[in-house]
Each structure stands twice: as C-alpha cells, then as structure tokens.
C-alpha cells in the first residue's frame, strides 16, 4: 500500500491499495521512518516491511 498521509503522534498512516485504490488506516510503528509516498507491505492493518518494488530481483 502507498502512504497518503501520516499521523506521526499516533504512529498511524492513511494508506491506499495499489490496485483497488481502497484506503485504510495502518499502524506504522514497526517500519519507521515512513514518509508520504512510501510503499509498505501491510498485514492485518499493520505495516511490517517497506516495499522497494522498483528493483525486481531477476534484473
């Protein structure tokens, strides 16, 4: 999901799904630092990793 807006005090972010475009509130405490536009891997409402998909491994 892509980070749209960050609530730094509560360590939450509004994120948007890549394909469906749906938005959800996501816990970002485990992947700090996070910036607007970052892509995150989210499971059960919590971001668990940054997604750096611009680098396919087979290149």
């Amino acid at each position: 999901m892509r980070v749209v807006r960050i609530d730094a005090d509560r360590e939450l972010a509004l994120c948007e799904a890549d394909e469906a475009g749906e938005r959800a509130t996501v816990e970002i405490a485990l992947v700090q630092p996070v910036a607007d536009g970052d892509r995150l891997l989210v499971h059960a409402g919590t971001a668990i990793a940054h997604d750096r998909s611009e680098v396919p491994a087979w290149r």
């Binding site: 485990l30 059960a44 998909s53 396919p56």
Partner: protein, 373 residues
C-alpha cells in the same frame, strides 16, 4: 507508478523466458519435488497457472503455511464456546468464520444468536471495544509471524489506552517447528523449499538456515508475483545443479535478511511460546505456537473467560492433514469437489483462498493435467 511495477512482475514474455531457463536447468530423468511453504504462494501458483509453465519433472507440493488451514477443530469449538457467553462480542477474520468446528462454524453460531463480527484487523476489534464499553470484546487471533506483530501492537495499545474490556484468544503459530516436523517425516522426500515471503519480512531468512545445514535442502525466500515464484524455482534448481545448498533471498525488495527487529521485539514482549499446540493434520508440535506472556495475562481471553479445551478428531472423510503435509494432492482427497467445496467446506484447506484445496478448486485443478512447455 505502482502499476508499472506490478505489470512488470506479471509480464508474460519475461515469464516465458524464465520458464525456458527452468527447462534448461533440469536434468532429464530426475524428478524435483519442491515445497512452497506459504499458502499465498499456493494461491498465486494456481491463479497464474505457474504449474503449467514448469517441466513435467518439476513437482510443486503445498506446505502448512495457510493460517486458517492449520487451526484444529477443538480451537474452533473453544472459540464458539467463548462467543456464546453473554455480553461477549467475538471478533475474527472473515475466513475464520467459515472454518468447521465439530458441530458448527462461527457463522452458524452467529446465525443462532451469538454476537460474532468479522474484522479486518485487531485494531478494528479494539475500536469495537472502545465503542462498546459495557461489553467484553474478544479478538480470535490467528496467523503466523506475519500477523502476530499486529496483534501484539494492538494489545500494547489496549493496555496503554486503558481499554479494560478487550482481550485476545491467541492462536498464533510459528513456521519453523512444522517445517522441522515435515522434514523429519518419513512420508515426504523434498528437494527444496520456496520460503515464505511474508513471514520472512518479520523473522528474516536466518531461521531457515537449519534446512540446508541440518537437512541438506536449499531454501529460496520468494515474493508472491508470478515472476517471483518462477525466479525462485529457477534459483532452487540452480543450487541443486551447482551442488550448492543455502538460504537465498529472492524477495530482497521486501525481506531484509535479518527480518524486522521492531516486530520481533514487540512479539517477544507480548507473547511467549506454548509448550505444545495442536495443528490440524500435523498433531501436537512442541513450541510451535504463541500465547500471551505473563506480563499481558490480564488481556488473555482464555484466562478471563475459560475454554473447554477438548480435543476433537478431524472428520474421517477429510484428508486435510495429508494435503497439509504434501503427501497427497487436493484432488486425491475422497471428498474434494464433491462433498467438500468452498461453499460447503468439510476441511479447512477448502475454506481460505490460501488453502491448497480452495486454490485447486477455484482454478479448476481437478486432476493433474499439464501442458508441456
């Protein structure tokens, strides 16, 4: 911009090129049996027809990495027993609501009057607790190390915010003990593993090093797009062809080799290992599941409300255990696609989209029919 990357991970031309390289890497006459550990991989393999792109002598078998599939009937019954107590709002993920207990599912218990609600995250359950201060809200937590950090963070948040009516019935499981159990099983001969991509974002790749070290089998941690999986298969075959045996990380764009230290830290604060836990089809496995630590005991729903804790045998017709161990293919189960379908599941593997039986059923794999590359 994101779609550009997504398209690239699903590019048919690149897929055919990788399939060609896989074909070139196999030794004629040798049979390769590779296990994809994670249910997400199983789903992608059949959704994208990856199986059809592989040579006849490369066989994929499906591992125990679907969190819904491994929950035993007794735990479903325990959940229903808790959910039917007065004043409890019982929350769980959507797939879990359709998992059969010994007599009924959570969905059926809801239809009979229990207040059972589907949530997308533990944070949703915590929100329900805040909105209903006069009710007790229980979150039925399932999942591997991928989902456990989310539960742990929510429990920390509940305590920090003083939400006294929120508790968790913890069914989180860990991935390494069942893999070791499978590797010790005489039923199964495997040549390599497609490692679980999402679990590895949390635990990293290091916990899988015992597989090459102790069992002499390569592991490649992989992403979930079709080209990720093809690439991982090629990497495993390359290791086998070159006589190497190690853990490699195909999913490096998401998985750090050492995992997510913040997630591991919060898990270690909130959870501790259970001495034993029952897995559907695999039986009791030592230190393979999590419970709330003593420090968080007041948020443990099992301690607050109690559960019957009765062990229930799987239905005789159901062969989920053999499917979960990779011993049989889903279509070899006696009830696959007849008595057991996604609409009326007998076994857990037919419930979740990540279950091997559901993947085979949904994508029309009723027998082994392969097109030659």
């Amino acid at each position: 911009m994101a779609m550009k990357y997504m398209d690239e991970f699903r590019d048919a031309e690149l897929g055919r090129a990788l399939a060609g390289k896989i074909l070139g890497a196999v030794e004629p006459g040798r049979h390769y049996k590779l296990m994809e550990v994670c249910g997400g991989h199983t789903h992608s393999i059949y959704k994208y027809g990856i199986d059809d792109l592989l040579p006849e002598n490369v066989e994929l078998v499906h591992g125990p990495g679907c969190p819904v599939c491994v929950i035993p009937m007794g735990r479903v019954d325990d959940g229903i027993a808790m959910a039917t107590q007065n004043d409890i709002i019982f929350t769980c993920f959507g797939d879990m609501m359709r998992v059969p207990g010994s007599e009924r599912t959570l969905t059926e218990a809801k239809a009979e009057g229990a207040d059972i609600r589907m949530v997308y995250s533990p944070l949703d359950a915590l929100r329900l607790a805040k909105e209903n201060p006069d009710r007790q809200v229980v979150f039925f937590a399932i999942g591997f190390e991928t989902t456990a950090p989310s539960t742990a963070l929510t429990l920390k948040r509940a305590r920090a915010e003083g939400v006294g009516n929120f508790t968790c019935m913890c069914n989180h499981v860990t991935i390494v003990p069942p893999l070791r159990a499978l590797l010790d099983s005489p039923d199964l001969r495997l040549d390599g593993f497609i490692g679980p991509g999402h679990v590895s974002t949390v635990v990293g790749c290091r916990p899988f090093e015992f597989i090459p070290k102790d069992y002499g089998r390569p592991v490649v941690v992989a992403g979930f797009e079709p080209l990720d999986i093809l690439h991982a298969i090629r990497m495993i075959l390359a290791q086998l062809g070159e006589g190497r045996c190690e853990v490699e990380n195909q999913y490096s764009r998401v998985v750090p080799y050492d995992g997510n230290p913040a997630a591991l830290k919060v898990m270690s604060e909130v959870f501790e290992l259970r001495p034993h836990f029952e897995w559907r089809g695999l039986g009791f496995i030592s230190q393979s599941a999590l419970k709330l630590s003593e420090a968080y005991a007041e948020l443990d729903a099992e301690k607050r409300f109690g559960v019957p804790g009765v062990r229930v045998a799987d239905p005789k017709a159901c062969q989920c255990g053999e499917v979960l161990k990779g011993v049989i293919k889903p279509y070899e189960c006696k009830v696959f696609g007849t008595a057991c379908t996604p609409e009326h599941a007998i076994g857990t593997c037919m419930v979740s989209p990540e279950g091997a039986c559901a993947a085979y059923y949904n994508y029309g794999r009723f027998a082994r029919e392969k097109e030659l590359v």
